[in-house]
């Protein structure tokens, strides 16, 4: 059977490379069959929208659809760059990430170092189980809790009143939003993100610590001279990857927490795209905003990945 198919197939295929491909397709036909649904899924739900992003260069009209709407070139981009939103969205997106890097990034590292120092295995496991837990609480519940605790009669304001302060409604105050966002981010993810660092700590040979102890090093000295240097490669990679995402703030948490009185600090690119695009149906303009964000993010992540590869090749593995 196979003898009769191969010659007729290779006639169509022409060159040697094509023949090789057809042989591969035949030999691995079941594997390629498995890949059909995967390829379809990625084509339809990932690559088609990339192609559809050209709506950013057209003026979307509901009657004509994406492909019939008139081309307008970079109009929506220049509208966005000259609009009052541009600076505000860019600033909010970057600042939230910057604060999260400054305050949120070190938290799981410290956490992992401290967990690693726990002597008692059962206590260690308990600490891990409980501090990972907030990661599994849904965002809707987390934001529900935040609005409840931060309300003018909530727990936080109770404490402020107790110490003689005046209660304020935090979620109405633009100045408080970034603190709330980053603070709750730390609460949600500090424990969970420490897993990566804990994994790196496990591989530190215990002889290092024994030697240090014989030399009379105290705990602080051990952490400073052994634990942290051993963590540096992981920290560098995680930091680089984190910095790559500096233009990305997910819309979800913002949408759950913000309100018009704090748009000034809370509105980020993704929440703006949702509000103006999905809710107010200004598709072309927000597609342009989204595409701008995608391209900048891609450039950031790609260059950062390159840097990371360079580092890992030369110094890590």
């Amino acid at each position: 059977m196979s003898d009769s198919v191969v010659p007729s197939v290779s006639k169509h295929a022409g060159g040697r490379g094509g023949g090789r491909l057809l042989r591969d397709l035949r030999k691995n036909k079941f594997i390629y069959m498995m890949l059909i649904p995967i390829a379809l899924y990625y084509l339809v739900f990932h690559y088609y929208p990339m192609y559809g992003a050209q709506i950013a260069f057209r003026d979307f009209s509901p009657l004509k659809g994406i492909w019939g709407s008139a081309w307008v070139g970079f109009k929506h981009f220049s509208d966005f760059f000259s609009s009052y939103y541009f600076y505000r969205l860019l600033r909010n997106t970057v600042l939230i990430n910057l604060y999260d890097i400054i305050f949120g990034f070190p938290a799981p590292i410290i956490m992992a170092i401290l967990i690693n120092e726990i002597g008692h295995p059962l206590f260690k496991r308990t600490v891990q189980t409980i501090t990972y837990l907030p990661h599994f609480i849904s965002l809707v519940v987390v934001c529900g809790l935040l609005t409840d605790f931060l309300a003018s009669d909530g727990v936080i304001n109770n404490a402020i009143e107790f110490f003689g302060g005046k209660p304020t409604s935090f979620l109405m105050n633009p100045e408080a939003f970034r603190t709330i966002y980053v603070g709750s981010e730390i609460w949600q993810s500090m424990g969970w993100n420490s897993i990566v660092y804990l994994a790196a700590l496990v591989s530190i040979p215990s002889e290092l610590y024994e030697a240090a102890r014989i030399d009379g090093a105290g705990k602080m000295r051990e952490i400073w001279s052994i634990t942290i240097p051993c963590l540096i490669p992981t920290i560098v990679i995680m930091l680089i990857m984190r910095v790559g995402k500096i233009m990305t703030v997910g819309a979800e948490k913002i949408i759950l927490l913000y309100n018009p009185s704090i748009y000034e600090t809370a509105d980020v690119i993704s929440s703006f795209v949702y509000r103006k695009g999905v809710l107010e149906a200004s598709f072309s303009f927000t597609a342009a905003v989204g595409l701008f964000n995608s391209i900048i993010s891609f450039a950031m992540v790609a260059s950062v990945n390159k840097l990371c590869n360079k580092l890992t090749q030369s110094s890590l593995w």
């Binding site: 929208p49 401290l114 849904s138 529900g144 809790l145 705990k219």
Partner: protein
């Protein structure tokens, strides 16, 4: 060799224990607050100031109100459907893709892998995806919460990594016996990689349980709402409507707050109950991902 614990080490250990206890309290307190308040007397909760460290009286009327709210069972059953059907689709497709792309010598394999990894770095954005789902007539359809997120590239890579670790000899002997790739995958790879299958089910399952944004985008019909969207209405949008609908009595002004707490308990309890038993699988998943990443 045994080394005596110095006074400094003892002090460090004590300080560390204290810090850990504090962190655990910070992680747990919000949930404890919610639990205690939900079973407390609504009026006492209303008047109470500060931390709640024990139930204030005992009153289950908030839970009664929650279970009388027709949207709660609707949201619950919808979420269960999205979770079961969605996770089944997720895991099946991820397994197929991960197995296929873990094969060595596949001529197009590396192009596929690149195309998949590329989607993690770049996307067309929210609006083109939204327009696509709209054009596919998936708005207000349950499919909108299952199909557009059918595969997570990250999970596929995790699974591919663990498939690659299976020794090739297992596969070769099966091939000699005439088994095709589907048989090899489901009879050899899946049973051998059960832990990572469990990780996948958990990652996708928790994702579906907690997901609400796709539903916000694509679902307008309230009878199709997943639980998290119902929750959002109750917790974050209009609390007063909810209480009037549910109680209608004169205690309504007071009971609103406890109803919200009881809703959180009802919606979060399942995940918090299974979590301690499954934690090690989650951690394993993160480890596999971390090594690869």
């Amino acid at each position: 060799m045994k080394i005596k614990k110095s006074a400094g080490a003892a002090a460090f250990s004590a300080a560390n224990t204290a810090a850990m206890l504090l962190l655990m309290a910070a992680a747990l307190y919000p949930m404890v607050h919610v639990l205690f308040a939900s079973i407390s007397n609504p009026t006492l909760v209303q008047q109470h100031r500060g931390l709640i460290l024990h139930p204030l009286g005992f009153d289950l009327s908030a839970f009664k109100a929650v279970f009388n709210n027709p949207m709660i069972p609707v949201g619950y059953s919808n979420t269960l459907f999205y979770l079961v059907a969605g996770t089944a689709v997720n895991v099946l497709l991820t397994t197929l893709g991960a197995y296929a792309l873990s094969r060595k010598g596949l001529l197009l394999g590396k192009y596929f892998m690149f195309a998949i990894a590329f989607t993690m770095l770049f996307s067309g954005g929210m609006i083109p995806s939204y327009l696509l789902v709209r054009d596919l007539h998936m708005v207000n359809s349950r499919l909108a919460l299952i199909i557009p997120n059918a595969i997570s590239a990250w999970n596929l890579i995790i699974m591919r990594t663990s498939f690659e670790a299976v020794p090739a000899s297992m596969e070769e002997s099966a091939k000699l016996d005439g088994a095709n790739d589907f048989i090899i995958l489901f009879k050899i790879y899946v049973p051998l990689c059960l832990p990572v299958m469990a990780v996948m089910i958990l990652f996708y399952g928790v994702g579906h349980w907690n997901s609400w944004f796709s539903a916000l985008l694509y679902i307008r019909k309230r009878e199709l709402y997943p639980l998290q969207l119902v929750l959002r209405e109750i917790l974050l949008i209009s609390t007063s409507d909810m209480t009037t609908n549910v109680t209608g009595g004169d205690a309504k002004a007071n009971i609103g707050e406890t109803i919200r707490y009881a809703t959180i308990v009802v919606a979060t309890a399942p995940i918090l109950c299974v979590y301690p038993f499954l934690q090690k699988y989650f951690v394993k998943g993160v480890m596999v991902g971390a090594i690869k990443g």
